[in-house]
C-alpha cells in the first residue's frame, strides 16, 4: 500500500483523538460518585477564616468539636489561646486552660493588650505532616482537607513531630495519630463544621475557596489576613484576620 505523509498524519491524528476520548471515558467511569451522592471533590477547596476581632473566648468551638468527634478528654482538635502582650512582645503570656473547653477565668492582668486566638489544623496545601508519613496513612484529599486513614495508620508518631502547629496528638485508645478532619463528614453533606455551627459571633467561618459565590473572596480582598508561621511555607488555609505579630 502506498502511503503519503498526508495520509499518515491524518491517520495518526484520528488515532490520537480516539485514544483521548477513550481515556476520558475511562476516567469518568472511574470517578463516578456513588449513586445519590451529589458531592464532587473536584469542585471544592476548603479552608477557614478566623476573625480575631470577633472571638469572645467562650470555648463553644472546643466543646462542639469534642462532642461531634468524640475527642478523648484532655486532647484537643481545636483549642483557644488567650494572649496577654506586655511591652516585652517576645514573651506574651499565653494561657489555654483545658484547651478553653469551659472558656476562661477573667484576665489576671487588666489593662494589658489581650485577645483570643482559636487554633486548629491549618489544612496546609503543602503540609509537612503528610510528607513524613511512611505508609500514606495521612494525606491531602482532592478537596484540600488533610486527613488520617484510621485503618491504615501505624501510630509511628512521625507526623505529630512534623506538624509545626502542634495540631496532632496520639489517640490513647485507638493507638493512632488523630487530628481535626475539618468535619469532613459534615462539609461533604452540605453542613458547616461543628465549631463553626456553635460559634456565636461568626469568628470562625468555613470557606470554600473554589466556590466563586463564597463570601471568602470579598473577605480576603477587604481584610488584611495572615496565616500562622508563614515563614514555614506550608500553604496553610486557615486565614486569621487582625492577627497580632506576637502570636506563634
Amino acid at each position: 500500500m502506498e502511503m503519503t505523509r498526508r495520509d499518515l498524519l491524518s491517520q495518526c491524528s484520528k488515532l490520537l483523538v480516539l485514544t483521548a476520548t477513550a481515556a476520558r471515558a475511562l476516567e469518568q467511569a472511574g470517578n463516578a460518585p456513588a449513586p445519590g451522592d451529589t458531592y464532587h471533590m473536584a469542585d471544592h477547596w476548603w479552608g477557614m477564616i478566623i476573625d480575631i476581632d470577633k472571638c469572645i473566648g467562650c470555648g463553644n468551638c472546643v466543646r462542639a468539636c469534642s462532642q461531634e468527634n468524640q475527642v478523648p478528654a484532655g486532647y484537643f482538635r481545636t483549642w483557644v489561646e488567650r494572649y496577654q502582650v506586655t511591652e516585652d512582645r517576645d514573651h506574651p503570656l499565653v494561657e489555654s486552660p483545658d484547651g478553653a473547653i469551659n472558656g476562661f477565668p477573667p484576665t489576671t492582668r487588666p489593662g494589658v493588650k489581650s485577645f483570643f486566638v482559636p487554633k486548629l489544623c491549618n489544612h496546609c496545601a503543602d503540609s509537612p505532616c503528610t510528607q513524613v508519613c511512611p505508609v500514606g496513612a495521612t494525606f491531602i484529599s482532592p478537596d484540600g482537607v488533610v486527613l488520617i486513614d484510621p485503618e491504615y495508620c501505624l501510630g509511628c508518631r512521625y507526623c505529630i513531630q512534623a506538624c509545626p502547629y502542634g495540631c496532632r496528638y496520639y489517640h490513647p485508645e485507638k493507638d493512632i495519630a488523630d487530628k481535626c478532619t475539618l468535619c469532613y463528614h459534615r462539609i461533604t453533606k452540605g453542613l458547616t463544621t461543628a465549631c463553626c455551627e456553635a460559634c456565636p459571633t461568626g469568628a470562625r467561618q468555613l470557606v470554600d475557596l473554589k466556590n466563586p459565590k463564597d463570601p471568602v473572596h470579598a473577605f480576603l480582598r477587604d481584610h488584611k489576613v495572615q496565616v500562622l508561621k508563614p515563614q514555614m511555607a506550608t500553604g496553610a488555609k486557615i486565614f486569621y484576620n487582625d492577627l497580632d505579630g506576637s502570636v506563634r
Binding site: G57, P106, P142, R186, E197, P200
Partner: protein, 152 residues
C-alpha cells in the same frame, strides 16, 4: 550450539531464582497493597468514605427552625438572632431525628450566659459584657432576660 548451552548453564539457575523471587514479590505486593491505592494520591481512597461515615452530633440550625417556629421568631427579633440554637442547646441531632423519644435537657442558665457574657479584658470591646456577680445580684439571668430574645 551445544557448547553454548553448556557454557551458559550456570546462568540458568540464578535466572530461575530471579524469576521465582520476582513472582513472590509480585504476589506479596498484590496482597499487601490495598485496593485502588494511589487512585487520588499516595493513600487509600476508601479512607475518604470511611471518614465520611462518621455520624453528625450537631443537626444544624436549619433543622431546628423547621419545627421550632416560636423560638425561631422570638430569636430572630432579638440580639441573639445570629447565635445558633445548638450554640446554647448543645448537639441535638438525636433529638432532631427522633423528637418523640429524645427530649433535650434544658441548658444550665447560670453557667451558659456567663461563659459568653462574663466581663474579660481580652473580649472585643464592642461585645456586651457584664460582671455577672454584680450585674444580676445572684439571681439567674432568665428571671429578667428571655434567653431567646435577651432584650428586656
Amino acid at each position: 550450539m551445544n557448547r553454548f548451552l553448556r557454557d551458559s548453564g550456570h546462568l540458568a539457575r540464578p535466572a530461575l531464582v530471579l524469576v521465582a523471587g520476582l513472582a513472590v514479590f509480585l504476589v506479596v505486593r498484590g496482597a499487601v497493597i490495598p485496593k485502588n491505592f494511589g487512585k487520588y494520591g499516595h493513600y487509600r481512597p476508601a479512607a475518604l468514605d470511611l471518614i465520611r461515615q462518621h455520624p453528625a452530633a450537631f443537626a444544624g440550625q436549619d433543622q431546628c427552625l423547621a419545627c421550632h417556629d416560636e423560638q425561631a421568631k422570638t430569636r430572630a427579633s432579638g440580639k441573639h438572632a445570629h447565635v445558633a440554637c445548638e450554640a446554647c442547646h448543645g448537639p441535638q441531632a438525636p433529638h432532631a431525628a427522633d423528637f418523640v423519644n429524645v427530649k433535650p435537657a434544658l441548658p444550665d442558665v447560670a453557667a451558659l450566659c456567663a461563659r459568653c457574657h462574663e466581663n474579660d479584658a481580652a473580649k472585643p470591646k464592642n461585645f456586651p459584657q457584664v460582671v455577672t456577680a454584680e450585674h444580676s445580684g445572684g439571681v439567674v439571668c432568665n428571671t429578667c432576660h428571655q434567653p431567646h430574645n435577651p432584650h428586656l
